[in-house]
Amino acid sequence: MNPITEHNSRETLSPLKAEAKKLNFYYGNFQALKNINMPIYEKKVTSLIGPSGCGKSTYLRCFNRMHDLYPGNRYEGAIEFHPDRTDLLSKKVDPIEVRMRISMVFQKPNPFPKSIYENVAYGLRVRGESARSVIDDKVEAALRSAALWGEVKDRLKELGANLSGGQQQRLCIARALATDPELLLFDEPTSALDPIATASIEELITELKERVTILIVTHNMQQAARISDFTAYMYIGEMVEFGVTDQIFIKPKRKETEDYITGRFG
């Protein structure tokens, strides 16, 4: 069964943004991802669910080649990035180029020990942008998109670390948005936050999909059901089932998925 043709027929309006093809990943000799095939549709939210240790974060970090930072990691297969069909995992493709096109928001808010303004401007400065007016505009736009502008517009010079946890995470989202990424990766962005901050981040993600493709890892099934258009269930490095979120949660095709969704897992 080919999941890609299957979902294309249902979602003809959204073209592919990326596609994992026979992706294997190894930490040294340990194979963490096994033959993953999966489409990511443009301007949709795709969530990855599964028990901890199933490889969902590992999979997410393949998209911006974070694994290249540490020795001993190895990819096989490909992630094709559309529209130019660049293979993100190819040795010929520079991980820095990949990261400039694909932004990431981490599990725990990790603002730099800099001002709020400089945190958001960081990606622009890394790209060598130095025109004050350009940076000012983009910082404001990014903070507005991250629904943070109203709260911080009078204190842009303050340290990012002075914000509350939820605000810090929105600051990190603004940092990721400032460089107009084509794909935004979220690695359990609300796991360190309280329910109110979580709700605001979820709302934000729903708004952001108007503009950018989103891939999100979540430990929380309800969250996946609330915010995502597509859901993938992973287990021990394998992609068990991928589909439209409603279908996955209402009538999963695979027994394993159903067990996990209904809490009969383990």
Binding site: M66, I96, R99, F106, N110, F112, P113, R175
Partner: protein, 316 residues
Amino acid sequence: MNSYEATAGRLDVMSPPSDRLKIDHTRHIKERLIEAILFLAAFVSVFTTTAIVYILIRESWVFFQHVPLVDFLFDTQWTPLFEDAHYGIMVLLSGTITSSMVAVLVAIPLGTVIAVYLSEFAPFSVREIAKPFLELLGGIPTIIYGYFALLFLTPLLQNVFPGLPGFNLLSAGIVMGIMIIPYVASLSEDAMRAVPMALREGSYATGATRLQTALRVVIPSAISGIASAYILGISRAVGETMILAVAGGMQPNLTFNPAEPGATITSFIVQVALGDLPHGSIGYQTIFAAGLTLMLLTLVFNLIGFYMRKKYREVY
């Protein structure tokens, strides 16, 4: 008699507590005694500081009875052992400052580059070899470095600058800088490695290179540790003795030109200590006055270091 005492009394009669469970008073006393002894050992550090301050001030006190403080601070000659004695500490300070400047100009750039390289660039294997190697370099006795400055570096520099005298502050300062590199590099590297990986990942995720991450995220985050590494390095240079005593020449010379020979506070103390000065003579007391100056100088650096650490409190 209330009921509690009655119960206690009855218990006493009925079942005397076994000897094993009785509170052992001798054991208690022994424990307190041991604690007191250990406390005294720890207190030796306080005693040492107090003794240093006391000795320096006691001997300098006698010195300043003979030499007015104004002369000490503003006289431009230092000839304590001559008939016509002058006690201008500026002369020795100029040597200390000049040689320390040279050392700092060598140690801070090189030490920082090595620290950034080891912390952010070097593969694991290089770091595992380089760190112990730097430690070994830092463990070489300073007299060896002095020999190296006088008999290896000075002749080498004389090929480039033919007019360079056999004793000079430049050569001593450069070697002093090399001696300090391990301290600066090692401490700065520790500070940089303490920066959480999450911050680096945040930077790399925006497409930053290693150098951009190092300069824009890691160094600013570790600035307090790096600053105190610099301060410690400067403090070492100011207090360094043997390299200057061997290679710097010991003639007092009011100069800020590193190509000249000169005495420093430390090399002057060595020079006097090598000779036979009777206890209590004014010559004997000058070394304590010089030592007090050195102590105050290093105290200033320690205070600056403390202030910097407070100002750039780690924010992560």
